[in-house]
């Protein structure tokens, strides 16, 4: 959990600083880099499914909020680092602490209040915020890119990293995570859509299953994706995805079909049911977005179903990426590499 290693942003505030300059950028990373140059403070809201909001302070990323990944708030509450009572009293302190007519000038007021009342240390809070920001950025990268808008007046994140993360570092880490999962399993976007449940037959003579995995097994009802598990357990989505890959390699998991076969259409003409309807030409009664991974577990079907395990057996090509922030991933990488080695024959 090293903090961001960049120089801290100069605290000197320019008096009349920013050209709002929402530059015409090609994509969100380009936009963030441009906003970093202009030391933009505000937020970038990305509209896609699910999209999210990137909070910026002087161009540095102070928080990422998206339905695709737990925020710092969820991580704090679910991990019981912060109790509900303490949370409520911090909210009270944060809202009574400022003059009634003052705008919530800076973000992070809730985090400050939590530290002030001694619920959590500043260092621990920062660690959670860094983890949440990286995880949020990773989750945003999983969804297809959409449009965006910038807003200077947007309400700031209430638990914010200060100083924030250099956008560039965020991209590097996101790219590293995406590449790692792609190498170990396949397209992370597909992996993220899979709903899992424990394998019915536990691995016989299995070496002990780590607690972390047992908790995932207990929460995996067949209805939850990695993202849902992350929210349930109060962990990062990336961490859960890595665990899922590892557990899949040990055959601890079954995949639920991503969709039940689209509901028999209520408006479609009747067709003989004993032969499969012509898939592409038939009437399409329902708009069901089924990803390419939407097949039953272990169905050998078509090129679209993700193989049971990594498509690419060539291993250990681990390019030494940028320095990791998470120790666990180091072990993850080595362990999983061994797994795929075993399963290649």
């Amino acid at each position: 959990m090293t903090g961001p290693s960049h120089d801290t942003a100069p605290p000197a505030l320019p008096a009349a600083p920013t050209t709002p300059a929402p530059p015409t950028a090609r994509n969100v990373p380009a936009l963030l880099l441009a906003l970093r140059r202009t030391e933009f403070t505000g937020s970038v809201t990305v509209s896609s499914t699910p999209g999210g909001t990137i909070h910026l302070e002087q161009g540095l990323v102070s928080a990422v909020e998206t339905p695709g990944a737990p925020t710092a708030e969820t991580l704090l509450l679910k991990s019981r680092r912060v109790g509900e009572q303490e949370w409520a009293s911090a909210e009270t302190a944060a809202s009574t602490g400022r003059p009634a007519d003052a705008p919530p000038a800076r973000g992070g007021d809730l985090g400050t209040a939590l530290v002030a009342q001694g619920t959590i240390s500043a260092a621990e809070l920062e660690a959670v915020c860094v983890a949440a920001a990286f995880d949020g950025a990773f989750a945003l990268a999983l969804s297809p890119p959409g449009s965006w808008e910038t807003a200077e007046a947007a309400p700031p994140a209430r638990i914010a990293l200060r100083p924030g993360i250099e956008p560039e570092r965020l991209f590097e880490e996101t790219a590293r995570r995406t590449a790692l999962l792609t190498r170990l399993w396949g397209p992370p976007g597909e992996l993220a859509r899979i709903r899992i449940r424990p394998a019915t037959r536990p691995e016989s003579g299995a070496p002990r299953i780590p607690v972390r995995h047992r908790e995932i097994l207990a929460a995996a009802t067949g209805r939850r994706t990695a993202r849902d598990l992350a929210f349930t357990l109060g962990r990062g989505v990336f961490a859960v995805l890595l665990d899922v890959v590892r557990m899949d390699a040990r055959h601890l998991l079954h995949r639920e079909p991503a969709h039940p076969a689209p509901p028999a259409p209520s408006v479609a003409p009747r067709i003989p049911t004993n032969e499969p309807p012509p898939a592409s030409t038939g009437p399409l009664p329902r708009r069901v977005r089924s990803g390419p991974g939407a097949r039953g577990p272990g169905s050998p079907s078509g090129p679209s179903g993700p193989g049971h395990l990594p498509a690419r057996p060539e291993r250990a090509a681990a390019p030494d990426g940028p320095p990791n922030t998470h120790r666990a991933e180091h072990t993850a990488r080595t362990e999983t590499t061994e797994q795929s080695e075993k399963s290649t024959p």
Binding site: T49, P50, G51, T66, P67, G68, A69, P70, T71, E73, T74, L77, K78, E84, W87, T221, R223, R224, R227, D228, F231, T232, A258, H259, P260, P262, P263, A264, P265, S266, A268, T273, R286, V288, R289
Partner: protein, 129 residues
């Protein structure tokens, strides 16, 4: 109609909504007097959810009428670990959705009208639109 039982078609519709909107964990269709119609649930007790959500919708409608803030759109309850959203399906039925704290609320607002429309067709209720 299809060869499916109506209930299965309803449940498939609920599952489809769960697939389309991030953060939905369970959902229940009930009549406005609290009788269970169909459910896509795991941990939730469907009958209780049906009864309670009917009460929530009734209270919401009544309160909306009493306070003069216009017609009811949905009843949203925000909790520490999630959301409970109750949506009317016509005058006689409702949909209760349970989501985690990361529920994609804009996504739900975008997707739910189509779901409500299809559910009301399946239930044989004239759509309110």
């Amino acid at each position: 109609m299809s060869s499916q039982t109506p209930t299965a078609a309803l449940v498939d519709e609920l599952k489809s909504l769960r697939d389309r909107v991030m953060g939905i964990s369970e959902s229940v269709i009930s009549t406005t007097d609290g009788l269970l119609v169909a459910a896509d649930t795991a941990a939730l007790h469907p009958e209780s959810a049906a009864a309670l959500s009917a009460a929530m919708l009734g209270l919401g409608r009544r309160t909306a009428a009493e306070t003069g803030v216009g017609g009811l759109r949905d009843v949203v309850t925000r909790c520490n670990n999630g959301y409970i959203v109750v949506l009317a399906i016509g005058e006689q039925a409702l949909l209760m959705i349970l989501g985690d704290e990361g529920l994609d609320v804009p996504g739900l607002h975008r997707e739910s009208p189509a779901t409500i429309h299809r559910l009301s067709e399946l239930l044989g209720i004239a759509p309110t639109l």
